[in-house]
């Protein structure tokens, strides 16, 4: 049986997932700033107010703490809220509700409850957002036991992982890459299509170099891998898709085959996603490695406004190509 799909942009795939889950489960509701009538800063929730009404699509004042308090509290008593924080950068305003409340409640209260909240956050560069509208905070949340961290890179995965996030019984922080919002892909229309957490996706096969990439860096890596094919260098591009839980096996198996590892993510280098993955491979797959591990990240610098400066610090296909060659 062939899968029925439709071409759509990333942001539409997320919308479709939310819509299906809201239809499926009355306890799912949306809460956030300008998400209803306006449709959201990136229009992810456009049209959902008309469809589900203002009880279930709740516009709030500019009060991030209250938004997440509401979502986490409601989740503790059995609702399945999807909260939108307009930009990942504003997570700083409401860290309390995520880190000390949502993440801790289940364990701290001896497993009496679960907190099935989904927190959606657009993140990343590419819109001249400068220092306070461009950040990639995903690794911060990997450091907090009790949270699940999801970071899809494309439309299909947006849909499948969003559905899983909503159905999951633990707090999920769902990072939505801004560039991926506008890239189109084939998205399954099956309402039962979900993607389990903890399963990496392999985009290309190869024996030479393993490239592990997240978010916008996945497409950059695929583009680099295609170019490298012409030079007879075959890369395996792997997108973990969820950072917690992380599919270590897929990464280690690939490194076992290639013996070479390049990791690319958009976060600042120190304590980044790439740092964690490099540490895992160094610890558990050292004997596979034929060369040193290379990490490509944004350097440890606030994101500058000027586009030429921004471009200069964000890894891209060209940089990936050059660095793959250093490993071969």
């Amino acid at each position: 049986m062939t899968e029925e799909t439709k071409t759509m942009r990333g942001l539409e795939a997320i919308r479709l997932a939310i819509e299906e889950e809201m239809e499926r489960d009355d306890s799912v509701f949306l809460i956030g700033e300008d998400i209803g009538r306006f449709g959201g800063a990136f229009f992810v929730t456009e049209g959902l107010l008309d469809k589900f009404g203002s009880e279930r699509v709740r516009d709030t004042p500019i009060s991030e703490n209250a938004i997440l308090g509401c979502a986490v509290g409601a989740a503790m008593v059995g609702m399945r809220p999807i909260a939108e924080i307009m930009f990942a950068d504003f997570l700083t305003v409401c860290m309390e509700m995520i880190v000390n409340q949502a993440a801790k409640a289940r364990y701290m209260y001896g497993g009496q409850i679960s907190v099935p909240v989904t927190i959606r956050v657009p993140f990343g560069t590419g819109i001249m957002g400068a220092a306070q509208h461009s950040q990639s905070f995903e690794s911060w949340f990997m450091h907090v036991p009790g949270l699940k961290v999801v970071l899809p890179s494309n439309a299909r995965d947006f849909k499948g992982l969003m559905k899983t996030a909503v159905r999951d019984n633990d707090p999920v922080i769902f990072f939505e890459n801004k560039r991926a919002y506008y890239q189109t892909g084939e998205v399954p229309l099956d309402k039962n299509f979900t993607i389990p957490f903890g399963q990496a996706r392999k985009f290309t096969e190869g024996d030479d170099v393993t490239i592990v990439a997240t978010g916008a860096m996945v497409l950059e890596s695929i583009n680099a891998a295609r170019k490298l094919e012409a030079e007879n260098i075959h890369c395996e591009v792997i997108d973990p898709r969820t950072l917690v839980p992380l599919d270590k096996d897929s990464i280690l198996n690939s490194v076992e085959k290639t013996g070479r590892l390049l990791i690319v993510d958009e976060g600042c280098k120190t304590c980044s996603v790439s740092a964690e993955i490099a540490a895992i491979v160094a610890e558990e797959g050292f004997h596979f490695l034929k060369k040193r591990i290379i990490r490509l990240n944004t350097p440890n610098v606030p994101i500058p406004y000027s586009p030429n400066l921004e471009k200069a610090i964000i890894p891209n296909a060209k940089l990936i190509q050059e660095n793959v060659k250093k490993l071969t």
Partner: protein, 333 residues
């Protein structure tokens, strides 16, 4: 023609300056947000329609007093005496910008003028203002802080914590609430139950006023009074200025959530036009002077466009500069 009450402490030149400043802000925003073919329009939050607040408020403080600003900060920047060439160059991400192209529209700041920065985080200005006011108090400097924020920011926890702390320590802060009826697409009467947001002041034991934010003189007078109190150690005041933004939330905003009639109604309450008529009535200036001011303003802006276009892009080799005052080895690719 009947003359009305203009503040006696303002000379004709000072009154004309208020007009000039408002017009400069207006024309500046027009130039960068309307596609005239002269320079392309970046993503900005334009201050158009709200000029009387920044200009009236900044006229009521001294040059060495402080302000904190918002994401809609160009007006505050200009009103506090910032240079429009370095403002424009910043908005276009050029090396000649006031923040060397690192900050952009949402982060314009001129510390030489004690303009402590536009801010991309809604509600983040007032907490900073606390510390600035505290420093002034601890050092007996007698300086005050105006902290501008919107009706949207008025619902941030940070703002409420700030009002309370300012009140108990009697910090020299004026909370200048720019109520332009919307926080992005969210109407203020959806986001708050009370009609006048100045009512909030009571809960923190400070005075609160709601005024016409499109009347530069009313803004000036009210802020001046609050400033005098604050300088004497009498503590903070909350001043809600009712106004309206003429343009979308940003230059990218299709602005479909506001009715055309509402927009037109507020354009009829143009703060600049109103003030101009008032100054003519009071014989402070005449059509010839107005014409001249208009021409000078546009010329200044033309000049800024030229300078901005000539200013180089930042050198990518400097991208890691300025992160720390005491340099250290930075990790990177």
């Amino acid at each position: 023609m009947k003359k009305d009450e203009l503040p006696k402490d303002l000379s004709s030149d000072e009154l004309i300056n208020l007009y000039k400043k408002m017009l400069l802000i207006r024309e500046f925003e027009q130039r960068i947000t309307k596609d005239t073919g002269k320079i392309k329009s970046p993503l900005v939050h334009a201050y158009t329609g709200e000029e009387a607040i920044a200009v009236g408020a900044c006229a009521a403080i001294n040059e060495d007093d402080y302000i904190t600003s918002t994401h809609r900060g160009h007006g505050h920047f200009i009103a506090k005496g910032g240079d429009i060439n370095s403002l424009m160059a910043e908005i276009y991400g050029k090396e000649g910008g006031i923040c060397k192209g690192r900050g952009g529209s949402m982060h314009v700041a001129d510390f030489s003028k004690n303009m402590l920065g536009a801010n991309g985080i809604v509600g983040a200005g007032p907490p900073l203002a606390l510390g600035v006011a505290l420093a002034s108090k601890m050092r007996n400097e007698g300086k005050v802080v105006l902290t501008f924020f919107g009706d949207g920011a008025a619902n941030q926890g940070m703002l409420h914590e700030s009002m309370n702390l300012a009140a108990i320590w009697k910090l020299p802060i004026i909370f200048v609430l720019e109520n332009n009826k919307y926080g992005w697409s969210t109407p203020v009467d959806y986001a708050t139950v009370i009609k006048d947001l100045s009512l909030r002041a009571q809960g923190y034991g400070m005075k609160g006023f709601t005024i016409d934010g499109n009347d530069v003189i009313e803004v000036y007078k009210t802020i001046k009074e609050a400033v005098d109190i604050a300088r004497k150690g009498g503590g903070p005041t909350l001043i809600e200025c009712k106004t309206y933004r003429w343009q979308g939330q940003t230059t990218m905003d299709a602005d479909k959530y506001r009715l055309t009639e509402e927009k037109e109604e507020w354009k009829r309450k143009c703060p600049i036009e109103k003030f101009k008529i008032r100054l003519i009535k009071n014989e402070v200036f005449d059509r010839a002077i107005i014409q001249k001011i208009g021409e000078d303003t546009l010329e200044q802006i033309d000049q800024s466009v030229k300078i901005t276009k000539k200013s180089p892009k930042p050198d990518i080799n400097t991208v890691l500069d300025d992160i720390y005052k005491n340099p250290m080895n930075l990790g990177g690719n």
